[in-house]
Symmetry: C5
Subunit: 104 residues, 5 copies
């Protein structure tokens, strides 16, 4: 899994039937130090994540191991909203207070 | 899933029998800001995407989770044509109007 | 799937029994513009591809979706020989005529 | 599998039900020479690894091949704590003595 | 599959039960021209490969398609020791004679 921030949304009407009802969010990658890393992924949301929230996402076949993504052509899923994470004994990110993390 | 634009087509007569009937399209990668990123993928089309359209594609085993790709040696699939996407509250791409996106 | 040119062959006598009878070819990566890209893959051949031919290959579990690779420890397969491909309305590669593509 | 050092922890209350009870650790990548490499992964722990320990982790569907991760949306797992590793006949890392390895 | 040279060994006592009995080797990546490339992988050995031998390894779920790795949390496997490989009509590597290949 990797850390990412929900930075955007996607609208699509012409899509595979198996995607109907899935919420697709754009997630920008973050490194372990809480800085914006290169790259992004469009992920299905399994936890009700909102814009600007820091999340964990999984990729590959593991993205299909939830009720909402089972047997669907989806290769990335948000499976957790992050409250806090620590590296080397200090808090890198906390959703409850302002921490020095790069914005979108 | 990642964003990409359909930039080309492939013709092959000498191929695995399991590929017969599949439409294969060349998709150039785009980043979340709507700019052409490096790289491409040749993907099977499950939604009737056309040349120049912005799409979402999935890779890996997830690419086989459609009726047309089930049990086939296909590792990338177009599963949606993108109408619009937003990042940070502004529209990055819209198929209905001209937005500043990099061409092929 | 990605484009690649068959650039070499491999000989191995000490190998997993499940590989016996498989032809393994070295495939150099090509980008969508028909130029040699970095990297290579050693792929099983499911279509009778020859040295110097431009092919499409798939990776991951999708490489096992053919009769010859089913249940084998193979993570890349050549599933098509490419006749031609077009990008942006012009022919990038054609096996029938000399086109400006990078050699091995 | 790759080498990594457990450098941090993650707390999440809003997550997929299938993740309940799993311990998620932040693992910083190390190269074969025992130096900190770029990148990290958030992995489920199957062996009781502790902060600062050098571990081996596996990714992709292989991360689900343990009792604790079976059928869960998890794409990385710590499956071993490393005692020592050797490259080219010399010990690169040993948990029992101080060896020149890059810190977090 | 990719080429790699067996450059080291790993010892772990605290590990997933499903790994007991597997030999894990450190494999340094080689490119198609026989030069040491960046990166490495820790792979299970299915063919009795020895230190210094050039091998082929497969990754992902394909690494579990052998009797010794079936249902185990292993994402890389050595499935062949390489005798020789040719690129562009000349021998890049031969285990029987000294060829200009980069050392570890």
């Amino acid at each position: 899994m990797l850390f990412g921030k929900v930075i955007g949304t996607v609208v699509s009407t012409q899509k595979s039937e198996s995607l109907v009802g899935l919420k697709l969010l754009i997630v920008g990658n973050f490194d372990a130090d809480g800085k914006r890393a290169g790259g992004y992924v469009v992920a299905a949301d399994s936890v009700g994540a909102g814009l600007g929230e820091m999340v964990l996402y999984a990729t590959g076949s593991s993205a299909r191991q939830t009720d909402i993504t089972n047997n669907r052509p989806v290769d990335a899923i948000i499976m957790a909203v992050v409250d806090t994470w620590d590296v080397g004994g200090k808090t890198v990110f906390s959703k409850y207070e302002s921490v020095d993390t790069a914005d979108v």
